[in-house]
């Protein structure tokens, strides 16, 4: 295991970054009072000090507490939307790729057209149409409404190649039913690929949720990373020289995206060993 990780540096970098992030959340939740992430709980706009290691923002929130409370929320949106997206995408991809025919044409057509449309804009219309403030879970569902497009497209392409393999042919001649072949023969072979797709779907979902939040369509009450960015932009924190306000969320978001990206690359390499020669 460790030997393999050494040969696959991307995977190692991804795992290390995400482990650091997990440690930050776990230790933070054990030691930091997340109640301080509510507005007006500490003095506003304090630079970092022993008492407030990350400083405080203009609404009087302790930024360390906001990061500890908010990072899991952002990840939660990403995971819910990513899992839903890949789940729906996998089902559609197998139905389309294995059975072909009219269903395939329709599913592929929808996915192809859906992908040329800028997702963020569609999500904006959905978010604006839903009345009132959103909760974190509603955010996740909204983001998931488009998160299946990309998985459907990429997994379908994989299913198409798997379908022609010898062992699938043999299973078919042995009288295995379609669902059985999909579950017992094709699925296990696609697992590494599905894992890589899942990680990149989670990353895309987080990006979409942060995008909505920066535009002011997020859960206003929650201290998610994107909402923190919204307040930073809203209060022009950079122009005002309140550097501590934006350093922490940006570093954490960087770690999230870099960690997920390198994990995807590493998993891709497991899924497709031919990539190894080119690395």
């Amino acid at each position: 295991m460790f030997r393999y990780v050494r040969r696959n540096p991307s995977l190692a970098v991804g795992i290390v970054l995400l482990t650091l992030l997990a440690l930050f959340i776990v230790i933070g939740n054990l030691t930091v009072d997340t109640e301080l992430a509510r507005p007006l709980s500490v003095r506003a706009l304090q630079p970092p000090s022993w008492e407030h290691p990350f400083g405080t923002d203009r609404q009087g929130r302790d930024l360390l507490a906001a990061m500890v409370a908010g990072t899991p929320l952002t990840l939660k949106i990403g995971f819910i939307a990513g899992f839903l997206g890949v789940g729906i995408g996998t089902v559609l991809a197998f139905v389309a790729g294995y059975y072909r025919g009219m269903t395939d044409t329709v599913i592929r057509g929808i996915a192809d057209i859906g992908l040329t449309v800028p997702g963020l804009l569609v999500l904006i219309v959905i978010a604006v149409s839903v009345r009132g403030g959103l909760t974190v879970n509603e955010m996740a569902i909204i983001v998931a409404s488009l998160a299946w497009l990309n998985p459907t497209r990429t997994i379908r392409a994989q299913v198409l190649t798997l379908r022609e393999r010898g062992y699938v042919e043999v299973a078919r001649l042995n009288g295995m039913s379609g669902p059985e072949i999909i579950l017992r023969e094709m699925m296990p072979n696609l697992l590494p690929y599905l894992a890589a797709t899942l990680v990149s779907a989670v990353s895309a979902a987080i990006l979409a949720s942060i995008g909505l939040e920066v535009l002011g369509l997020g859960p206003l009450e929650s201290p998610t990373l994107g909402m923190t960015l919204y307040w930073i932009n809203f209060n022009a924190a950079i122009l005002n020289g309140w550097w501590w306000w934006w350093v922490a969320p940006i570093v954490i978001i960087l770690i999230v995206f870099l960690g997920l990206f390198f994990l995807t690359v590493g998993l891709d390499e497991i899924a497709n060993p031919r990539l190894r020669q080119s690395a």
């Binding site: 057209i113 449309v117 804009l121 995008g211 920066v214 369509l217 950079i238 995206f257 870099l258 990206f261």
Partner: protein, 335 residues
């Protein structure tokens, strides 16, 4: 054959236009109430200086969509208005129309996005090709890790960092807007420089990130292409290295790269919207942000429709140009 191909792509484009309009019409209805009407009435109750305009708007809205008429008739009316690019007045900026406001913002975004996409695609593709080429200079290998890392970052996040470094710490570049507050839009050298310098930071944050993506994609494609038998054969024939690079490898590897460009346009635009918001760049993104802040539903609908159609058009153009890049495509049907 060629004509059928173009006709099919055009059909897809029409489908996108129709979908975008239907999206605007049906999504607000799905939530059970009519948010447009609620918002109009809400702002009417708040009263104040735009009151007169609002009443006009509610009347026009009622009349136009004939809320007493059946749904399908409302839908047809809406489609007809959308085809004329008529999105009603802006709720928050009466008596300005949505079309007028979107029209002002579009050139900024087209300029910013057109330039940055062409630049990053061009540089990235060439860079990626060189990165895979054994004959490339040694130092280029050092470019890989930063390209990878940059590629994973959202545009606007890099924008924030650049803003701090190049506009706040070292005040080299203007930080906000499309041109200086006092500048008068004339065709003088000074004003052009003013506009360019305001665009530099937003452009840089897009180009730096996007170039990495194109370079990585191209490098992967080049590695595959260089393993092909015809490249080995060309090498064995003793062709010049530069010829093999340009005519054999690059020429073939660029094809999937162009397909990727057509697919990535939507994503690039989504990212650029946020960059514009961060930098207050007066394009579509900043206008959208303003519309969301002001609950200006008509403006949001107008922007969403315009952008989806514009991107559909860009994809159509790429699709039509593609057979010219790849002569094989027109002989093949289906995909």
């Amino acid at each position: 054959m060629q004509l059928a191909y173009i006709a099919r792509r055009f059909g897809v484009f029409l489908l996108i236009v129709w979908l975008a309009a239907s999206l605007n019409f049906f999504l607000p209805k799905l939530s059970g109430q009519d948010p447009v009407r609620t918002k109009l009435l809400e702002s009417a109750q708040l009263g104040g200086y735009v009151h007169a305009g609002l009443e006009d708007m509610v009347k026009e809205y009622d009349q136009r969509f004939g809320l007493d008429k059946p749904l399908w008739q409302q839908y047809l009316t809406y489609l007809r208005a959308t085809m004329r690019l008529d999105f009603n007045y802006s709720i928050a900026n009466y008596p300005r129309t949505v079309r007028e406001m979107v029209g002002e913002a579009v050139p900024w975004t087209v300029g910013l996005l057109g330039t940055t996409t062409l630049l990053s695609f061009g540089i990235g593709t060439l860079l990626g090709a060189l990165l895979a080429w054994p004959g490339a200079p040694r130092w280029m290998r050092w470019l890989m890790p930063p390209l990878w890392a940059l590629h994973a970052i959202p545009f606007f996040l890099l924008g924030l960092i650049l803003m701090y470094l190049l506009a706040f710490q070292v005040p080299l570049l203007p930080i906000f807007g499309g041109y200086s507050a006092g500048a008068s839009p004339t065709l003088s050298l000074g004003f052009v420089w003013d506009v360019v310098s305001h665009a530099l930071l937003p452009a840089l944050s897009i180009v730096l990130v996007a170039t990495g993506g194109w370079a990585l994609g191209m490098r992967g494609m080049m590695v595959t292409t260089m393993g092909e038998d015809y490249v080995t054969f060309a090498d064995a024939k003793g062709l010049k290295s530069a010829t093999i690079f340009m005519r054999y490898c690059l020429r073939n590897a660029i094809l999937p790269q162009t397909t990727a460009l057509a697919l990535a346009l939507g994503q690039i635009l989504s990212g650029a919207v946020l960059v514009e918001v961060i930098f207050g760049y007066p394009g579509i993104g900043a206008l959208l942000f303003q519309a969301i802040q002001e609950n200006d539903f008509f403006l949001i609908q107008g922007i969403v429709f315009t952008v989806i159609v514009a991107l559909g058009l860009a994809t159509l153009i790429l699709d039509v140009v593609y057979p010219w890049l790849d002569p094989r495509i027109s002989y093949r049907r289906g995909d």
